[in-house]
Amino acid sequence: MQNDERPNPNVRDEDDVLLVERVLAGDRRAFEPLVRKHERRVFRVALAVLGNIEDAEEAMQETFIKAFRHLDHFRKEALFTTWLTRIAINEAIQKRRARKNVVPLTEVDVATEQFTPKRYESWKSNPEQLYGKQEIHRMVESAIQSLPEIYREAFVLRDLEELSAAEAAEALGITVPPVKSRLLRARLMLRESLAEKFEEPATLRTKFVHTAVDAGTAVAMRLMRAAGM
């Protein structure tokens, strides 16, 4: 089997269903294009849950083997991609539970307390052009990987894999409100960590001006005048 074709996001789910029907009718090779198309998504969700490539690789293999062996359980009222994503998340979550020396995940949602941004400088106009493609790639991946797992999962499912809040909730076995609060927090945390690289360096003057604007007080304005600005 060759991996020379990138998954085509324009291939519709009807095509998946046709392939599934072919496999079920005995044409096992029809499973290959399904793998090619969904390999990346399965890998990304497994990586989001598990946080390292080795475990994600195993979970991905188990996912496709399980999907192949249980293809007759696939009900066509669901999208194939949703069905497969659920298998992938279940595999990954089981693997995470089985991992030794791991701090057990609490089932409570820890995102109830609001995250307060700390960086308020605006960003350079095209920050992504300041760095090479590979460097941006590395920065983005490491920022996502550094998120605590519950935020990382929510972010990857919603913003990278574009699952709806309801689909992500179902896949993770939680309700919609924590998906939303985790996603918000993940976004704010990622913004914060990339801001370090992308924001305009604050000069002393802009700091003063911003302090004045943010406080909106005559005091800050007087401070600026006193500092000769």
């Binding site: 793998v35 890998f43 990304r44 790639h137 918000l184 913004r191 990339l194």
Partner: protein, 80 residues
């Protein structure tokens, strides 16, 4: 809709970024960020962060990982 403070506004950031929420909510958010520099920066840079991240398309399957997947599947598909 009552005037929103920065905390309320931040709690609704996703609605704004995703283009969801009622017309009233969006108007209240717009009104706040037109006046509040800090919230404006957070809203603007969150949108830009999302664009950068999705354009980057992170986490390709490494070629070796992919090759091992196909090798393993090959065995499963060839099982009698």
């Amino acid at each position: 809709m009552k005037t929103m403070d920065c905390k309320d506004v931040l709690a609704n950031l996703s609605c704004y970024v995703d283009g969801d929420g009622s017309v009233e909510l969006r108007a209240a958010l717009e009104k706040h960020i037109s006046r509040c520099r800090r919230c404006r920066v957070v809203f603007d840079t969150t949108g830009r962060m999302l664009k950068i991240v999705t354009d980057t398309a992170p986490f390709e399957v490494p070629l070796s990982v992919s090759a091992r997947l196909y090798a393993r599947l090959e065995k499963v598909l060839s099982e009698p």
